[in-house]
């Protein structure tokens, strides 16, 4: 059985057009892969339903960059919107490794 894989996004609040674009890409990938979960964190909003991974927690509490995207605690993209293909490739690779 494959292990759950976690995508984390750190965006501005209220979200910009680029933040929304990034979320749309990540949500699309999650819809294709039920084993993948997406957690969204907003800069300056410190109340979350879910505990962030250690690198995301550091960013949420001390970071100065928006946006950032992590895949299982590994940096996927920073200060830019990742492409759909890039996210899909990384997630597929990760699912293969996790399975």
């Amino acid at each position: 059985m494959t292990q759950p894989v976690k995508l984390e996004a750190f965006i501005g609040w209220p979200p910009t057009a680029k933040c929304r674009e990034m979320l749309a890409i990540l949500e699309e990938v999650v819809q294709r892969h039920p084993e993948v979960r997406l957690a969204v964190f907003k800069r300056g909003v410190h109340e979350y339903d879910e505990k962030p991974s250690p690198p995301m927690a550091k960013l949420v509490h001390k970071g100065s960059a928006v946006p950032v995207c992590f895949l299982d605690g590994q940096l996927l993209a920073m200060l830019r919107v990742p492409t759909r293909e890039e996210v899909e490739a990384k997630v597929t690779e990760r699912l293969g490794a996790a399975g």
Partner: protein, 344 residues
Amino acid sequence: MGPEWRLLCDGITDPHHHFAVEEALARLLDEGHSPPTLRMRQVRRAVFVGVHQDTWAEVDVDFCRANDIQIVRRANGGGAVYHDVGSFCYSAFFSRALFPQDDAELYRFFAGPAIQTCADYGVVACFQGRNDLLVRERKIYGSAQMAWYEAFVQSGTFLVNIDFEVMSRALTPPALKFADKPARSVQDRVTSLSQEVGRALDTTAVMARFADHAESMWAIRLAPGDLTAEEQDLAHELLDVKYGTDEWNLGSRRTYRLTLAQRTEEGILSLSADVDGDRIDQVRLGGDVLLSDRNVLDRLEKMLSGCDRIQAPAIVRAASLPVSTREALLRLLEKLGEEAEVPR
């Protein structure tokens, strides 16, 4: 001659509106709708809280409310600062690609005009740590950065004239912040240019000197300009949904009950407490720990209830407990502190 930047002195003194403009400029610069800009500003009495800080722990909210001191959470990091029209801030908005230096070097680079401005008044300011300027071990300037997609914002606060008494009442930084510093209070740790030269200074004249030095030291050419209609509209929108709201500026007090346990030579010791920001309350010590004198734990519960998390270890160390139980309790308090840092 370097690239042209807009010099923006928009005269907005309302602190909430002021920060809404700051974020609007960052967003629109990223989208290519705003030019590189140096914004110089003074605001009415206010406390600016860093984006990652707990307002309730850093600020005497009741004092500020009673004295018409606005509280606003910035978009960037760093510590809480008290500010009034006697001092000024600047923000430089630019594309990160414009400067080859890394972020740490940029802090030093952008502090240059402040150092030179101090020198104009015969005051020697030295860069200290990551982002501060000190005069005789006291802070006169602090700075922060924010990277927003392709935009970068470097901001600094320069204390020219400041009401130190109000500042020390408005800010309530945790004692831990001073643990490794000779200063023991906000007032011991900060100074102003007027205090250093021994007379009141015209803040706008100091600002003008700063801008002159910025132009030469950053190798840019400043051209006075105004906020565009698009920048004003976005700033008003951000003011409505973010910077003008208590939800953003004050957040909510973090109140919750935690129970943690630790094994000791005398058995398992548990600690339950209500956590309200830095304060712990309704402490209950339990578990199956066997002590010859249970009254010690009862007394400790009373002493720990209502105390600050930072003071609690000293109370435990002074209590008459077996070493193993004392160490376990100290570890539980440490865990309580770690848990308190995690968002609820």
